[in-house]
Symmetry: C2
Subunit: 101 residues, 2 copies
């Protein structure tokens, strides 16, 4: 099935592909960090243990509206995920690679 | 064309959709910030002007391997783009909405 998707994408004109990509990102579920943690069935205590910090620090982190990219990456990785930084333009998306580990 | 993509996606089983999504993100072009700026045909001077900082500050920013999400968002927006923060898990992706403007 993944192969079919790649084939379909390869047959699309660049503008259509950019449209499809934008559409895909628009349709992604949006969650705040604490909801994402709950979806992974992790408590603040469990996540704090993985991050070697205390529960209050996790609580504080989840209420922030700005933080270092490395801090966010550590939080996501502690849940078993990977962080991706995407820049969306009218003609498509690119991944920003400055912050790769 | 965008409609066709949405229809195809809707017909896919959840696991296949997660696979297709992961595949899509894997296939995105990866660029460091300075290459992205050049692709937008902007000089450090031009971007500095938009950000109300000097050229040296832009140069320094482009060499950083960590920064605040708000700083990165300002840089991307000055180029005419939008920043998206995605967490990728084995079973799919979610957008992190804590840092929405």
């Amino acid at each position: 099935m993944a192969k079919k998707f790649a084939e379909l994408e390869a047959r699309m004109a660049p503008e259509a592909r950019a449209q499809a990509q934008a559409l895909y990102l628009q349709h992604l579920k949006e969650l705040p960090l604490h909801e994402l943690r709950k979806a992974q069935e992790l408590s603040q205590e469990a996540l704090a243990k993985k991050l070697h910090i205390n529960q209050a620090a996790v609580s504080k982190m989840e209420r922030r509206t700005d933080m270092y990219i490395s801090t966010l990456r550590n939080y996501i990785q502690a849940m078993g995920g990977e962080l991706e930084i995407i820049a969306t333009f009218a003609d498509g998306q690119v991944k920003i690679e400055n912050f790769a580990e």
